[in-house]
């Protein structure tokens, strides 16, 4: 059976394809903001804190994804608030949230009654297990991100380039900061099914960093990153189908290898022209 036939015949493959495309668009758009605003480690912290929510969901019998939404939003706003107040270094705060979230998840799962669930799909992703409910969540978050980015593009660009000047000009910088952190948290939750907690950071950064080497302006950079990210997600899905390898890890490996290749080609070109 070819992958085209699988997409045509199997519902789980159709779900996986739509999920790969939605995740790609989402990661490309938010990833550029993460890379340009230097929020890579913050995003890693938010992703890992989400594990506590997954564990809480298993302990109390509600959707682990809902738990992940709560924990990742709490991490985003918690780190954001403490960072703004000062008194502690941001990298220390991120690492503490990161570790506490993972520790809470492990404890909650251990306390859950019955046999411990298999949490590998949350840690490393499994796009083939995406349900229709997950797809609606992904569609909602992607639509929200696209709408907000289109609506507030000029405000966001001003905020990303020079936060202080934007604040002095009267732009609602605090609101934009919460918006960016909230969207990162929601994107991380969407990624749990595709790349998992451990690998989410790679799909948020590698396509955006690759697009940065290929484009010169912010909006084309977002579009390029979204295209690359969607391409990696679909290609990872196809490769995992043919070679029977984990999809999330394949997507991430493709994204990182492409980044390394583009970087290598660019470096060689610069050496030749120097």
């Amino acid at each position: 059976m070819t992958v085209i036939e699988a997409f045509l015949h199997y519902r789980f493959m159709q779900n996986a394809l739509v999920a790969a495309l939605l995740c790609g668009v989402l990661c490309g758009l938010i990833g550029v903001i993460i890379v340009e605003k230097r929020l890579v480690m913050m995003s890693g912290g938010i992703a890992h804190t989400a594990y506590g929510g997954v564990g809480l969901g298993y302990l109390f019998g509600f959707s682990p994804l809902l738990g992940a939404v709560l924990f990742s939003l709490a991490a985003a706003f918690g780190i954001g608030t403490l960072r703004r107040r000062g008194g502690a270094r941001t990298d220390v705060l991120i690492s503490l949230f990161w570790s506490l979230g993972m520790a809470a998840g492990i404890v909650f799962v251990a306390l859950a009654p019955g046999y411990p669930p298999d949490l590998n799909s949350y840690l490393f992703g499994n796009i083939l297990t995406v349900t229709s409910g997950d797809l609606w969540l992904m569609l909602g978050v992607t639509a929200l991100v696209v709408l907000l980015l289109l609506a507030l593009f000029e405000d966001l660009r001003s905020y990303l380039f020079d936060e202080t000047f934007a604040a002095v000009s009267g732009l609602r910088v605090r609101l934009l900061e919460w918006l960016v952190l909230g969207l990162i948290a929601l994107t991380v939750v969407v990624l749990l099914r595709v790349t998992g907690i451990m690998l989410a950071i790679a799909l948020l950064t590698a396509p955006a960093a690759t697009a940065a080497m290929l484009t010169r302006r912010l909006f084309p950079r977002m579009l390029t990153a979204a295209g690359l990210s969607a391409g990696f997600s679909v290609a990872g899905l196809v490769l995992s189908f043919y070679f029977n390898i984990p999809s999330g890890a394949t997507v991430v490996a493709l994204a990182v290898l492409t980044y390394a290749t583009v970087l290598g080609v660019r470096t060689l070109r610069r050496r030749r022209t120097a």
Binding site: R38, G86, A166, A167, S169, G170, L171, R217, L218
Partner: protein, 263 residues
């Protein structure tokens, strides 16, 4: 002349560290004030309080008789050049046009022809005509600094704050920036400039404030040896480099000078 900035017994602490202590200063409309002092003496902190991005620990600061958060829309601000990510994917024209966004949020706002024309005009004034489509990553240090100045001037502010506007720029650019500031000041704009550049202090500003955690001096732009000693914590001389550039250097050879001409 009416007061645009009123500072009354201002104190700012960062945790246990005192940045500013009991500073009183009144800046009238149309002033051209230079603010000098040693590194860590509280100059940038004072600008931050005026901008409303740092809250005082004690005392008050008013801008046009109001709280800084209310009055700051009438300010222009040129931040320190070193604070920027110069790889950010944005053009010179787009940077200057951010000045036109104004207060609040602006859903689906796109910059119009009038705003682009305004950006072009102010870029021309700072000597960057034809630069509007260039990426900021392609600018030299001096061009970047002039772009920041253009952005600050774009909305014709009543008061312009500058934080070391000539650090890292060549002498020709430096002279051009001072000429432009003097011209704008003569047309009525109030200018507050934090600087280490003694040339600016001696030739451009009309009044001088010396900060070393507290206000050591405020008055004419000629400082006595006693004031400079109190400010830098050691005796200092004004010395020359064979150019019109003058810097402060301590007698004991320690610190005192941030000028790259001295290193």
């Amino acid at each position: 002349m009416s007061e645009v900035i009123g500072i009354d017994h201002l104190t700012v602490n960062y945790g246990k560290t005192r940045a500013l202590t009991d500073v009183c200063l009144s800046v009238p409309s149309g002033a051209y004030l230079g603010i000098i002092g040693p590194n860590g003496g509280g100059k940038t902190t004072l600008l931050s309080v005026i901008l409303g991005t740092v809250r005082p620990s004690g005392g008050t600061l008013t801008l046009f008789g109001e709280a800084p958060e209310r009055g700051r829309a009438r300010l222009g601000y040129v931040p320190q050049f070193a604070a920027f990510d110069r790889a950010f994917p944005i053009t010179v024209g787009e940077v200057v046009a951010t000045a036109y966004l104004g207060r609040g949020l602006h859903p689906f706002r796109r910059l119009g022809r009038a705003e682009r024309a305004g950006a072009e005009a102010v870029l021309d004034e700072v000597g960057l005509s034809g630069f509007s489509q260039r990426l900021v990553s392609e600018l030299s240090g001096g061009e970047f600094q002039r772009m920041l100045l253009a952005r600050a001037l774009a909305k014709a502010p009543e008061v312009l704050l500058l934080d070391e506007p000539t650090s890292g720029v060549d002498p020709a650019t430096r002279a051009r920036i001072y000429e432009l500031l003097t011209a704008r000041n003569r047309r009525g704009m109030t200018v507050l400039m934090v600087t280490h550049d003694m040339l600016a202090v001696s030739s451009s500003v009309t009044s001088l404030a010396c900060l070393s955690h507290s206000l050591v001096y405020h008055g004419e732009p000629e400082i006595s040896e006693a004031v400079s000693t109190a400010m830098y914590g050691c005796p200092v001389d004004l010395i020359a480099h064979g150019t019109p550039h003058r810097v402060l250097r301590s007698h004991d050879g320690k610190g005192g000078c941030d000028c790259h001409d001295c290193h």
